[in-house]
């Protein structure tokens, strides 16, 4: 999902349950992208899949949104991350890249987010050594825009056992321009898309 060398993809769109589902496949590379857009043109989910050397499809990687629960229960190791742990959920809004971290009851001064400029990554640290995450913003990587500490804001919601940390990263102007142009591709693909079931002629 960090690849910037992808050829032009073939995009198809379909309306499913009030959401616009956009599927793009990138020719011979075997890379596939699926997006879901809400009614008010917000990106709810974007996931990527590629193939390995032996042409086996890999698991979906979620850039935005969450994998369905139990999605990786078919691994042979019968071991899964417990639900009591902090976990990382990328989200999106029109102005910001958002990252929700849930199950973090500790107050706001427990967290720092810095930018590792050598690796072009953001690092979230907790001072009580409970959670740590290195992450990149795929959209920035694809356009080769360096991450910037100044665009970051942190917010913690601890009331009502919400225990949520929100990292927001202000989208730079280049990103907003690209997103606007991608809208056109979507509208084009959507022209043929109908709501509901696809026709299946029985003849």
């Amino acid at each position: 999902m960090y690849r910037c060398d992808l050829p032009l993809g073939v995009t198809t769109a379909l309306k499913v349950a009030g959401r616009l589902r956009v599927q793009t496949s990138y020719g011979k590379t075997g890379v596939e992208r699926v997006e879901e857009w809400g009614a008010d043109n917000t990106l709810l989910m974007r996931r990527w899949r590629s193939v390995d050397t032996l042409d086996n499809a890999q698991a979906w990687e979620f850039e935005i949104g969450d994998a369905a629960p139990n999605a990786n229960n078919n691994t042979p190791m019968s071991m899964s991350v417990s639900s009591i742990n902090p976990s990382f959920h990328p989200r999106n809004s029109s102005k910001h890249f958002l990252f929700h971290i849930i199950n973090v009851p500790w107050p706001i001064d427990n967290y720092t987010v810095i930018c590792d400029s050598d690796k072009n990554e953001l690092i979230l640290r907790t001072h009580n050594k409970k959670y740590f995450k290195r992450f990149k913003i795929p959209s920035l990587v694809r356009l080769q825009i360096p991450h910037d500490e100044q665009s970051l804001t942190l917010e913690h919601r601890g009331e009502n056992n919400e225990n949520l940390l929100i990292i927001s990263y202000l989208k730079p102007p280049q990103i907003l321009i690209v997103e606007e142009s991608e809208k056109d591709v979507r509208i084009k693909a959507m022209k043929n898309a109908k709501d509901g079931d696809v026709d299946c002629k029985q003849s």
Partner: protein, 485 residues
């Protein structure tokens, strides 16, 4: 002071017992070719003794295989029985390491009712060609903080929790029964640093964390201390793995649908499948996704192959995907199987012409003694010096294999009379209890008359012969009836 020493030795002995899972085989003392960096053979090293010339030659073969450029060369190891031909091949396999495919078959293995001779040989050839594939895999690497296992009161599957940490974070994992079993088997305890491969679930113990180094004193000499891992628990790692062409063949030749129910064994693989795979592998090579690792095919007792196999080998060796072929035989001038012609080593001249021949020479007395000492160590047997001298003499007069087989028998004799080490009397006792080939032949020549079926030569005792023949025929008929039903 003495107490500490005692505990140390016992714990290390215990560790050794635990780590040894394999049984002691005929060549399990061989750990390599015993060559130094300039490929010169050391006198006694890695279980190898003597055979300097043969080992020097094998060293050059080793270099050739390692560079991986030359395909389809064949090396013949020729020599009398018990001169270390198989040992040299095993040493070569060990020296090449796990990543180089090394297939060992015996010449008679290819004669099977399930597949043709050439199919069996093709499979053996393709087993010896590896394809190195790069893949990214996810691993979990961390120090164990706590393992907690709950056994439900009413029976049922165990559940558990594993807490892992790095210097920066901590995560709790829910465990299923399989994982709990795996963790117990690996004896993972709090303070161990482990990695878990996400795809296969394989657990690897890296060592104990430095922070736990003063927890208790009873650590064995083998315990390794490592730093607690840094950063995130889940890491992506480039892993390289080698699969053989045969494995790719098998995966792609499985029948689909209900036919798969009946296809227990792989059986014969269609040549179309092979062609497709060769093409695919060639594509991967061009794209840089995979590299070819040419390996070694070792055929022991090669004189058991017949004329067809030899001519098949002639052609197969010319392919650029052929592995390096190492064959061994103990025959002199012998009949080629499937023909009436005689040829050196029982191998046709045209194939012999393509071989580089390494010959092994009989061991000297001093070398024989060293081998026996190594075997005594391998089988954990203490032997007195004079007993060893006697055993060496027996080995020189009879055969090395017979002497090696006497070691464990003699040690059991010694154990029976509660002696700490094997003495001359044990060797003598075993020598009298078990006869070697020479004595057995001599005995047979003297008392041949008293064994069954010797009448055929002599022609007397006709009555007895008839009786026994009738019985045999009856038996055969019975068997036939059973088959019909």
């Amino acid at each position: 002071m003495s107490d500490i020493k005692l505990t140390n030795t016992t714990s290390s002995a215990e560790v050794r017992e635990l780590t040894r899972l394999e049984r002691i085989g005929a060549h399990s003392h061989i750990r390599g070719l015993g060559l130094d960096d300039s490929l010169e053979p050391r006198d006694v090293s890695m279980g190898m003794v003597g055979q300097q010339a043969a080992r020097r030659a094998t060293g050059i073969v080793f270099k050739m295989i390692n560079e991986g450029k030359i395909s389809g060369r064949a090396i013949l190891l020729a020599g009398r029985p018990g001169t270390g031909k198989t040992a040299i091949a095993m040493g070569l396999a060990q020296a090449l390491g796990e990543d180089t495919p090394f297939t060992t078959i015996a010449g008679s293995e290819i004669f099977s009712l399930e597949m043709s001779k050439t199919e069996a040989l093709t499979q053996a050839f393709r087993r010896s060609i590896g394809v190195r594939i790069m893949e990214e895999s996810e691993i979990i690497e961390g120090e164990v903080v706590e393992i907690q296992v709950d056994t439900p009161a009413g029976g049922g599957e165990k559940t558990g929790r594993l807490t892992l940490c790095t210097t920066e974070m901590e995560t709790v994992y829910d465990l299923g029964a399989k994982m709990i079993e795996a963790l117990t088997k690996e004896k993972v305890t709090a303070g161990d640093v482990i990695t878990i491969d996400k795809a296969s679930g394989r657990i690897n113990k890296l060592g104990r964390s430095f922070t736990r180094s003063r927890d208790y004193d009873a650590t064995g000499a083998q315990t390794r201390f490592v730093q607690c891992p840094e950063g995130e628990l889940q890491k992506r790692k480039e892993v390289v793995h080698v699969v053989s062409l045969h494995e790719i063949d098998v995966i792609n030749s499985r029948q689909q649908g209900f036919l798969a129910l009946f296809a227990g064994d792989t059986g014969e693989i269609k040549s179309e499948v092979r062609e497709q795979i060769d093409q695919k592998v060639a594509e991967w090579r061009e794209e840089g996704k995979a590299t070819i690792v040419p390996g070694v095919l070792f055929i022991d007792e090669v004189h058991m192959l017949d004329m067809e196999c030899f001519s098949w080998l002639n052609r197969a060796l010319e392919s650029d995907m052929a592995p390096v072929l190492v064959i061994a035989t103990n025959r002199g001038i012998a009949k080629i199987r499937g023909t009436n012609y005689k040829s050196p080593h029982g191998i046709p001249i045209d194939l012999l012409d393509r071989l580089m021949i390494i010959s092994t020479s009989p061991y000297t007395e001093a070398e024989t003694k060293k081998i026996l000492i190594i075997r005594c160590e391998e089988e954990d047997v203490e032997m007195a010096e004079d007993a060893l001298d006697l055993l060496t003499r027996i080995a020189m007069e009879t055969s090395l294999r017979y002497a090696i087989h006497m070691i464990i028998a003699a040690s059991l004799c010694a154990a029976k009379r509660k002696a700490p080490e094997v003495q001359i009397e044990d060797i003598k006792r075993v020598y009298s209890l078990f006869v070697d080939v020479k004595r057995s032949t001599q005995f047979l020549m003297e008392y041949q008359k008293e064994f069954m079926f010797n009448e055929l030569d002599n022609g007397d005792d006709e009555e007895d012969e008839d009786d026994s023949d009738d019985e045999e025929e009856d038996m055969e008929e019975d068997e036939d009836d059973g088959m019909d039903e």
